[in-house]
């Protein structure tokens, strides 16, 4: 599936994450993550975002995330909602 527009899901409340998906002219998946737990969980969060995108057949997008301490299931839900809003 192609990311053709800018869509967003989630919030900036604590325990949540704001996910923004944009088209990426480079043709790759690029993830920019800001997080209140970057040092402790940065790698895990990026991995879960990437696998969620890939599971939905996405091969190219710019994914900007502002994380306020969301757990994995919340991250997955928000990425999926951002993808769903592309439709």
């Amino acid at each position: 599936m192609n990311i053709t527009q800018t869509t967003q899901a989630g919030t900036l409340e604590s325990n949540d994450i704001l996910v923004t998906l944009k088209p990426n002219p480079e043709g790759t998946i690029e993830i920019h993550l800001q997080s209140v737990v970057l040092k402790q969980f940065g790698k895990q969060i990026k991995a879960i975002i990437l696998s969620t995108l890939q599971n939905h057949g996405i091969t190219s997008c710019l994914c900007e995330c502002e994380d306020k301490g969301a757990l994995d299931h919340v991250i997955i839900a928000r990425v999926e909602s951002a993808i769903q809003r592309q439709l």
Partner: protein
Amino acid sequence: MNRSYLFIPASNAGMILSSMVLDADAIIFDLEDGVALNQKISARTLLQHSLDTLDFLDKTLYVRINNASSDFFLEDVICANHPKVHGVVLPKAEIKSLEACLKVLDPSKTILCLIESALGVIQLPQLCQMSSQVKGLLLGGEDLSADCGVERTQAGHEIDYARKSLVMHAKAFKLMAIDTPFVNIEDHQGLREEVKYVASMGYDAKVAINPRQVHVIHEALKVDPLKFKEAKMIVEAFEKHRTQGIGVFNLNGKMIDEPVYLKAKHLIEKEERRTP
């Protein structure tokens, strides 16, 4: 038996995460009025993942699905068919919407009918008998007064008929009677008085729209310890007399018979409802 039903907006990740450590006996994850129109689908996605992942401990979980005439209804019901969910709260419960719900809801799931339209009130006898999945009636005072075109007041005269009718139907068909939310969330005294009032007419539980209301609801539903002690004595004495074939007797100057015994027994059961 649950004393409190706490609404948690399904769009709020933090509130879902802490829902199971709150005092409420039952949680209603709200997909309907507590969620903005453009967040409906993302809220459901979040709820699905939360149900899959989190341990909700001993909470009874309900989902308030969107109206049967809405675009979200079918997917909402599918979400509520999740094994961890006990049942649904059906908004604008009327014969038509209940029929629609029964068609798609898993037969193992409970339905709490949210009575919030004049037609819903009038159709109570049918709603109570349409399916054994219907286990409770929940009063929605805000929407009901709007439907009737009258002002909603704290005194609640405008919902008086519905409130009494609902509890009588619940008693007649052995369903749970759950009272409408108390909307002024800072007024704990007002809430306490309202809980005592509806409990006195037979309501089993109250909806909470803020977690801080739950403790007040539980405190207000507590049985007077003196009455509880008296009830224990009555039950004990009655059961002892019964073994001797005596159905009516005198206890401390008070005549005890079957109805007095049953009332006492009911009071004890109420008090021994599970506490957190």
